[in-house]
């Protein structure tokens, strides 16, 4: 059983890592001092963990925030100094146990046993929201997170007007703000619901609900005039609710 440890305190990671050696079936494949580091690991690694030991209180990004960014999360064991989050913890199906620091070996192994039982019930396939592994766009997801200057920023999908490719970056233009992210149009297209968004040009994806008008080979969205390629125009026209 592969696991990772996310805790900003070295001492906590050291203790958990040592306790993990007591179970021969448990293998620690990564230790991270921040949720952001762990998210990058989950995006890059092909072998996903079956279990995450997760601290709640971390700077910038809490353990609960981290769980919300994961689709199909594996089993999670919360490890915290705070007893007060127990009720919130059990609102998440993926959380199998809640260990209060300082943890004892007996309690640790009991929690791992619960995680194993969960794994036997449902094989986990984990991917972070911004992952490229996700091939099907999720029409039900309302937001995703982007990594800008080592911060994970939530973007509400319905507020997006336009996404424009700019070399190795994309610019996401929302109703209130623009974000430049190191990614590709293809990757973000996979994250956006096809019922709402359409690629109208080699370098543009638009939110079809935000179109103000269409003229020749361009559309007006907010204050932006976006080119529409000849090949994409028929699909765009199909989307319009014409009188």
């Amino acid at each position: 059983m592969n696991s990772i440890i996310i805790d900003d305190e070295t001492l906590a990671r050291t203790i958990i890592s040592q306790m993990a050696t007591k179970d021969p079936e448990l293998n620690v494949t990564g230790e991270f001092s921040s949720a952001i580091q762990a998210m990058k690991f989950l995006n890059e690694e092909e072998t996903k963990p079956d279990l995450i030991f997760l601290d709640i209180h971390m700077p910038d990004f809490t353990g609960f925030d981290f769980i919300k960014t994961i689709k199909n999360p594996p089993a999670v064991i919360l490890v915290t100094s705070d007893k007060n989050f127990a009720i919130e913890a059990f609102e998440y199906d993926c959380i199998v146990d809640y260990l209060v620091k300082p943890i004892t070996e007996e309690r640790f192994l009991k929690a791992v046993k619960k995680a194993k039982a969960k794994k036997d019930e449902t094989p986990a396939t984990v991917s972070v929201s911004a992952s490229t592994d996700e091939k099907q766009p999720t029409d039900t997801a309302n937001e995703f997170y982007v990594n800008i200057d080592r911060r994970l920023i939530k973007i509400d999908i319905p507020t997006i007007n336009i996404v424009e490719a700019k070399g190795d970056y994309i610019q996401i233009k929302t109703e209130t703000k623009n974000y430049t992210v190191h990614s590709t149009l293809k990757k973000i297209e996979e994250k956006l619901p096809s019922s709402l968004f359409l690629k109208v040009h080699r370098t543009y994806i638009i939110n079809t609900k935000k179109i103000i008008d269409i003229e020749d080979n361009s559309v007006l969205i907010g204050k932006d005039v976006v080119p529409v390629s000849r090949a994409n125009r028929p699909e765009l026209m199909k989307r319009l609710n014409m009188l």
């Binding site: 900003d8 305190e9 001492l11 906590a12 050291t14 209180h57 620091k101 300082p102």
Partner: protein
Amino acid sequence: MEQPNLNYIDQLAGDDAPFRQKLIDTIKSELPTEIDTYKSYLSADNYNATAGSVHKLKHKISVMGMEKSYYIAEEFEKNLKNNSLDLQADFEAILASMQNYIDGIQ
């Protein structure tokens, strides 16, 4: 005043002397940094962030076997969240005690 001890660490490490030393070395390197972080937030009157650093220090207090001190830290954390510095002196005495103790261990 409650004194720190290594009971938890000894129990955890058992006969594994290198692991015991690793835990002690980790506390030696991490504790001063966490105390500095606490002090810098406090001097900036950022009580919420100070509460966060007190929260983080609670683990080391418990690892060093200071059960009563843990509850003082817990109360101080709550006070900070309510913009109160009650128990600051008690908490800082705990920190000093921990630092002195760990400094005295090879």
